[in-house]
Amino acid sequence: MRGTRHTSTLYPRDPTGLMSPQRHHHPPAAKTARPAPGSPSAARGALSFTRVLTGSTPSPTRLSPPPPPSRRPDVLPRAPFRARPHFRGVPLCASARWLRSARRGSAELSRPGVFIVMSEKDSGEDPKEETSNEEGNEHKAEDLGSTDSNQEKEQEMEPVPMTRKRPEPKPPSQPAATEKPAAETLKASDSSAAVQTGWGYWGSWGKSLLSTASATVATVGQGISNVIEKTETTLGIPSPREISSETRDATRGSENAAASTTDAVEDGSSFPIAGALGVLSTISTAVQSTGKSVISGGLDALEFIGKKTMDVIAEGDPGFKKTKGLMNRNSTLSQVLREAKEKEEQQTATKVTMATEKKAHYGLLFDEFQGLSHLEALEMLSRESESKVKSVLSALSGEELDTLKEEMKQLKEAFSLPEFFEEEEEEKKGDEEFTKEVTELFSELRISSSPAKLITVRTSAHEWIAQFNSSLPKEEKESEENQEVESRDGDHDAKKSVEDIHAFAIRSLAELTACSIEMFHKTAALFLHGQKQEVTATDRAKSLSQMTIVLCKELSTFSKEFTTCLTTAGVKEKADVLNPLITGVFLEASNSASYIQDAFQLLLPVLQISVIEARTELSQ
């Protein structure tokens, strides 16, 4: 632990935040891990519309073993198996990591159908845990901040003897504001009893620290160092400087760990709502179990937590360093996807000759169908709306605010997707069903646009599958009758190779997803700038939510149909050829469903604007 502190002195915080990799993107803990079915056909049943989480299994190779129980902390005990949650943050990243790792070579995917499912309740609990973690981090920040500025001071005030046990008095130049966090910290330690009562307390404490910290970024380091000095003084803990001077010979390894932890802290202060599981919950366990000692024992405990964080990260994610790039705190889904796509581009560019390789890159195809652009556009509309909503809410007060908030709440409820499980009987749904349902739902939105493109894409993919299936029995018969001729010339046009089927499957999934996201983007644009309609935002949200479900179910159906094609066509193929392809299809279908659901969530702020507009009209 002292090594850690020492390190932070040597490696001051990274002001750019570039080095900050792991913060909210800690591997999410798995709620339910389905055991890996051995055969491809068994795998077929495994795809649900849940987000495929890679948290504990960041690369496909690590897919197979269920997450070690040790990583499943005792917090978050509820949460039954449930359809996917939606909250932005970890899962995006998780899927992106999937995406990336999948790209690395689907051949690595040895066992299809292991999907880790996280319940929605997780997400509900996250913010709390996040807060508690952040708080932990804040402590850490204090610590690190203190060492930082202490070192500065050390440089400024050379003559100060190293043997000093206590930090020097506050420099007169310190702004009065820096007293505040100190006061809060002390207050917190005064009422350490409250810690035991629940998380709420932790939350608010973290918040107050956070707000103070963010008030003046420039002085945070200084201010926090005072906090820590004060705390230390109270608790009788040696000053960081002293510790650092004692531990100059700390190992390089822990230095790195500390550096990363520091970065994590940096991120924490400005990322308020990151959903986080895995590490965060582990931390909260640590925080919980250490509970009081965090306060009374002070920094030791915090360092323990910090260390534990790193351990957990390192243990849970051996590919952690590689994933750093995708874990920047401001990553949006489109950014993450863009990075994945660019990586693919790079890869394909280096493999010019391998034409087949190129065919089945989901990310590239998704971009080719303009999915990324539409997603970015949607994100932009969503962000703009969000800030507008915020400013409106902050301008209101009293009863007005309460009513609006209540309406917002109702709207938000419509955005939580109902539970939906895979229903086997729905598999053989009529071909027209999708078209009918989507058209109907779309008309309920009352916007001057139609889902024609989406329906066309979907229909042509289904026709392809139908054609494939109808060609099968005939072909088999023929091959029996006239085997030699078949193998010589008929082989290529009549029979599709498993690679062809896979490529088409991935392509269709990418196109369907891109179209769905385009549809959401257009919908958002029309909600914001279309003609006023006699339909409430909540009703629209309900239709859209239903549409999301229909789309995701469709993706699931597709993945099943495509994999059936693969299994049929690949009877003679070896499992190590066929299985990765099958897994790849399931994986991308599942990811596609996640992207669609995330895109759906981006519509919430847009509809909130509608709610606000409806209110203003009413009052006029």
């Binding site: 581009e345 560019a349 190129k358 303009q370 257009k522």
Partner: protein
């Protein structure tokens, strides 16, 4: 889909409603002409590779904006990250020509601190009998703003390729001369991936440009 390109340029297509922006782009990217076309909602996206010199491909990302006033706040957001633009008017619609000036003013405000290389496009030149804007006056206006002028028809596929490739070439020259440079936080120009197996020696020299990160 070809992943190998030297640069990626983002082009924006603007102009009054119904002058034929989407049709022009569709003709260029998809090679077909749709008789009936729904008005664009907000913004649409297209892309195509253009080979400006043998072995030198440039990826064009084309932003098709809605001409309708109500979407202006959305389309405005796209000026900033464009390196080039096609400003369309309908030669059979005098009003759309008169609005060219306003379009330029509009972009000027929103593109800061960057600049867009514009080309003025007189569209629907197949409808010469209904012409309301003479080539001469259009050329004069274009020259006044330092733009090139070209007349196109998406229906008859006249000058569609030329309009895009000429603009691309002009931008490419500016990039080559260093008048336009790749900047972080600006999406107008991006350098692409140069494959390891490059045949022309020229391109090897340029490999230092692949900075995509």
């Amino acid at each position: 889909m070809e992943a190998i390109w030297l640069y990626q340029f983002r082009l924006i297509v603007i102009g009054d409603s119904t002058v034929g922006k989407s049709c022009l782009i569709r003709r260029f990217t998809e090679g077909r002409f749709a008789q009936i076309s729904d008005p664009t909602v907000g913004v649409d996206f297209f892309s195509r590779l253009v080979e400006i010199e043998p072995g030198k491909r440039i990826k064009l990302q084309i932003w098709d904006t809605a001409g309708q006033e109500r979407f202006r706040s959305i389309t405005r957001a796209y000026y900033r990250n464009s390196v080039g633009g096609l400003l369309l008017f309908d030669i059979t619609n005098r009003r759309s020509f008169q609005n060219v000036h306003e379009w330029l003013e509009e972009t000027k405000v929103h593109v800061q601190p960057y600049q867009i290389v514009f080309v003025l496009v007189g569209h629907k030149c197949d409808l010469d009998t209904q012409r309301q804007v003479t080539r001469h006056e259009a050329e004069k206006l274009a020259a006044a703003y330092g733009m090139k002028y070209i007349e196109t028809s998406a229906r008859d596929a006249i000058n569609v390729e030329k309009a895009f490739t000429d603009l691309t070439r002009d931008i490419y020259e500016l990039v080559k001369r260093g008048d336009i440079s790749i900047q972080e936080g600006w999406e107008g120009v991006k350098s692409g991936f140069v494959p390891n197996v490059v045949h022309s020696s020229e391109e090897v020299v340029k490999s230092d440009r692949r900075c995509l990160c």
